[in-house]
Amino acid sequence: MAEASSAKARPGSGSPWVGQSIARVEDAALLSGRGRFIDDIGVGPGTLHAAFLRSPHAHADIISIDVSQAMRSRGVVAVLHGEDIRAMTSSLVVGVKAPVECWPMAVGRVRYVGEPVAIVVASDRYRAEDAVDLIDVRYAVRPAVVDLRAALTAEAPVLHDGFGGNVASDRSFRYGDPDGAFASAPHRISIDVSYPRNSCTPIETYGVVADYNAGEDAYDVLANFQGPFSIHAVLSRALKVPGNRLRLRTPPDSGGSFGVKQGVFPYIVLIAAAARATGRPVKWIEDRLEHLTASVSATNRAVSLAAAVAEDGRILALDWDQIEDCGAHLRAPEPATLYRMHGNLTGAYDIRHLKVRNRVVVTNKTPTGLNRGFGGPQVYFALERLVQRIGVELNIDPLDVITRNLVPADAFPYKTASGALLDSGNYQEAVRRGAREGALAELKARRDAVRAEGRLYGIGYAAVVEPSVSNMGYITTVLTPAERRKAGPKNGAQATATIAIDPVGSVSVHVASVPQGQGHRTVLSQVVADVFGLKPSDIRVNTEIDTVKDAWSIASGNYASRFAPAVAGTAKLAADRIAARLRRVAASQLNTEVDDIVFVNGHVGSRRNPDNKISFSRIAALSHWSPAVLPDGIAHTIRETVFWTPPELTAPDEGDHINSSLCHGFIFDLCGVEIDRTTLQTRVDRYVTMHDCGTILHPAMVDGQVRGGFAQALGAALYEEYAYAEDGSFLTGTLADYLLPTTAEVPSPIILHMETPSPFTPLGSKGVGEGNCMSTPVCIANAVADAVGAKDIVLPLVPAKLAAIVRGAEPAPPARQNSPMQEKRDGDRKLRGEGEAVVSAGAQQVWDMLLDPNTLAGVIPGCHRVERISDTHFRADVTLGIGPVKGRYRAEVKLSDLDPAKAVTLAGSADGALGFGRGEGRITLRPAPNGGTVIHYIYEAGIGGKVASIGGRLLDGAAKVIIGQFFAALARTAGGGSFASERLSWIARLRQWFGGQR
């Protein structure tokens, strides 16, 4: 069924398969439930299952870990924590030169919420999770730093002693004469922007199955890792074996990655160590909560960018100041996100003078890693917002600012100020066609008409260069030239492909590309079929990797949009080599010259005499059956492996110029958005995206890459953020909080193409997978800026953020009401409350109750027992909950600032499997006018851990209810009425509370 339609689609036998949208070979199995994803593949008998205990705190010292109860739990085979892992492995390498360790599991200290603290290995996942709940960890909480600018300050808590403060790297660069340009330019226009944390979150999560062979000291690991395989070196080092004793394999299918599955590698170390410790194979499939909280994310970045601008909008120089937030650890290959675009800091523009300061900081958030767009979204958000601002401030149409600055069409290959070699393109033509075919004039008319009705409508643009095929040496730009000299040059991007012919002459292809849905097998079958004159269905392609048996190198894997330009091209080179030899074999068999041989329709034959031909399989199989008949100089035609690395990818030079990527596609986007006056939701009315990705191998797949990237970018622009509270609590731990766009949110973009082949790749193709992740967020932001006339646009464009911009100040509260709570700072999730009650007991009596463990046991909600540590320090076991949400906690209550019978400060904490709570309240007692006592309280409380990341929406209410329960019980015990607070609804709620169930 696979090839029926594709065979029909072929217009004539002369035209190549490449360039046609043939049906995918991958689809039949995937459409009928027969895919082979990692969790679909059977494991060996006796395989154990792992689950992780993760940190509820953003920053804390681990005081003790008690695993004894967990070890006794049913089905448990082992419980390992940081010290165990440290004893079996060595630290992961860190991307900069600094005396800092990076363990895949917390050792002594946790630095982000979700950091692995212990691993349970048990007979099944359910039992493993049971035991996780029984591990008893005591933490001493440290202050956390979440904001990247705050991390730079002198007061900030320091995460790693080996970095200066929290700065892992601080480098400055200068290309041309930026200071001169700024001094003489008539305008200096600047912008300060922040790019949020987000992730392209594949629907399939991480998975690892590991086994250890003690007799040979060798690991065998199956993981849905995606590359780059430079990480293999990191892994074998961490596992303390030579590379040839770490066999790393990938499953046939992978449920999306978008860079993210690079981040599985620390878990490979942990699961491999667990297999070693237990002597059994161990399997771990990450769950969605783990994935959102702790897998990996893109970097968030703060950028100050200034341009020296001429009167006509020409940009003469740029001054970048970038602060990159890599989270709690600088894990390989970071800080690559910051340097991936280093050659492209001038975007699509001809700007000769450039100044850059790059700082990398660590904060108490999940470590970062690969993510579609990788550095591009962050750079273009600043650059293209600046271009829009130049238009606004100089009163020039922003599109004119773009066109006046584009690299001229006759300048290719064009060397950018910081060293990238832009291979080919015609940017002016692409913009012209994008505007024309995207009906920009009509869109502008629409904007005018809609605005005339009082509606909010804006148009945005973005012009970006999309780099692909990363130079493995670009990351060394983070080192100084002197450090690089010492370390030795790094460069290149080895791609590999193997073509093999079996004894019946059928053709197999193997590449180390590890696709996650991009249809590599189909495209390679087209490329190779064209070389041999066969049908794609004649070619079998394998894209799995097995580091023991396959050809691979550090650049192997699926990232940096390298498939079409590098991998497919290398497969062609390998096929060409075999074809050249087969040509000689055929020439001798058919008695003609080599030049006369053609491969057509399953035959090898003479061009001049079409009747003189022989079947391909016959010629191809000869090398197996009768090597003696091969012409002299042809050893065999059985197998050919080609390694290809482009010569253009050189190491950074002494002046820090770096050709960070091999190919550069071009994208011009324009869009119209409308912002609803009531909901403030941004709706993309029309989106046009013009691509030049060189030669197109499979139009439908290119289309698929554009649409998929666009949908993710729309998510980044409008919905998605890995949000943290000020204390480092993670707030978006479910897919009901981290919002991926659905069919209702994603419009269908108008996709346009130009094809300017790359002179540097075998097939002329360039990468296309990441471009819209770079262009779309800022294009939408520019349109919103145009619609509301604002300078500061913060992604994601949560409607609430536009309230003040669009509506100005909020209507004042009615006079008789208290003013609303003072505006909270962003990320401040503290709960505050206040109330009082009149009770019949006297002040001394109430006072005695507060200091008595037995009374406390009666008033602390859900209290099982109170232990008195000192006169002012109590410990309790409590079950807390609201509705069905219940958990057991260890609570501590400390009294301080005692003013007997008058006032006391009560500090409480609760720690349990669902998270923790901390609060402090001041209770004051004063005689009531008609006898008895007035108890007044005021408190501040915070909640974190698992419950904050998955139940954030319900949390505040829950905490208030529980605190209310405490005071209500206190009042009741003291013979009193209910508490009354200033807030009406709060009274009502308390009244219902008493009137109701308890």
Binding site: Y126, E129, D130, D133, D287, R288, L289, E290, T678, T679, Q681, Y719, E721, L731, A736, D737, L739, P741, T742, A744, E745, V798, A800, A803, A804, R807, E810, P811, P813, P814, Q817, P820, M821, K824, I882, G883, P884, V885, K886, G887, A913, L914, V947, I950, G951, G952, R953, L954, G957, A958, V961, R983, L984, S985, W986, R989, Q992, W993, G996, Q997
Partner: protein
């Protein structure tokens, strides 16, 4: 992300449910469609020791008209109610609000009463129950009682249901008055940031707001001139004690109460 262990009771008679609840109280949970409870079990937010499955009790699976009331049994799925031929005519507000509850794929399992039992302040069903002045029918081994919706919801996921009580049904008074429903969520099918229901009454409009306070909140608005209505809505908006979260600010929620409230009241009165 797997549930903690529990016993599973597949009830074949109502008595079995009531007996089990009577014996095990708060440690037992009733499961119907499971669309609210199962995520909490998977995340181990809830750890009941017994689950009582009521979906094989045919007597709970009825929608009945009883005089001016529509009674919806505990095992009636949301999709069943949505497909009930008399819905648009007897309960136009429900017909408007129910499509906003979750997605086709969750409404086909989730029950009407399950959503009421869960008492999520952003959910649509508790909101329309309050807006229409419906009742919750509770039953334990000892007694049966009916609680007016506005007394039933007491806080975030907290209700006046006692631990030994089963929500046997809810009843909604048929109401053919003019009504309107609007909801703003980040995405289609998400929990409401603000959900707003309005029903014409003798003196004006009953407006119910979900997603802002800890429970749905209803308020009668007499016919007012637009300036006075704006003031009244502003007061109402501030009284709801809105909070900030990652999806919306308190101010944005108040804005929506003011704007949607005015829109819906106008729509219902016109």
């Amino acid at each position: 992300m797997k549930p903690a262990a529990f016993d599973y009771v597949r009830a074949e008679h109502l008595d079995e449910v009531l007996d089990t609840l009577n014996r095990e109280g708060g440690d037992a949970r009733v499961i119907a469609g499971g669309q609210s409870l199962m995520p909490m079990l998977n995340m181990r937010l809830a750890r009941p020791t017994t689950l009582i499955d009521i979906m094989r009790l045919p007597q709970l699976a009825h929608i009945e008209r009883n005089g001016d009331n529509v009674i919806i049994g505990a095992a009636v799925r949301q999709s069943t109610l949505l497909a009930w031929p008399e819905l648009a005519e007897t309960l136009p507000l429900v017909a408007r609000a129910l499509p906003w509850t979750g997605h086709v794929q969750t409404r086909s399992r989730g029950t009407v009463c399950g959503s009421v039992a869960h008492a999520d302040p952003s959910a649509e069903l508790p909101l329309v129950l309050c807006a229409l002045g419906g009742e919750v029918h509770l039953r334990s081994r000892r007694k049966r009682r009916r609680v007016p919706a506005n007394d039933f919801f007491t806080g975030m996921m907290v209700t006046t249901r006692a631990d030994d009580e089963l929500i046997e049904a809810i009843s909604l008074p048929t109401n053919r008055n003019a009504c309107a429903f609007r909801e703003v969520a980040r995405r289609h099918g998400d929990f409401a940031i603000v959900a707003c229901a309005a029903v014409a009454t003798k003196g004006g409009v009953c407006l119910a707001i979900g997603g802002v306070g800890d429970t749905p909140v209803t308020r009668e608005f007499p016919r007012l001139a637009s300036g006075a209505l704006d003031d009244a809505l502003n007061t109402f908006a501030y009284e709801l004690d809105a909070r900030d979260d990652v999806h919306a600010s308190a101010r944005y929620r108040r804005d929506l109460v003011r704007l949607l409230g005015a829109e819906l009241i106008r729509e219902v009165l016109s």
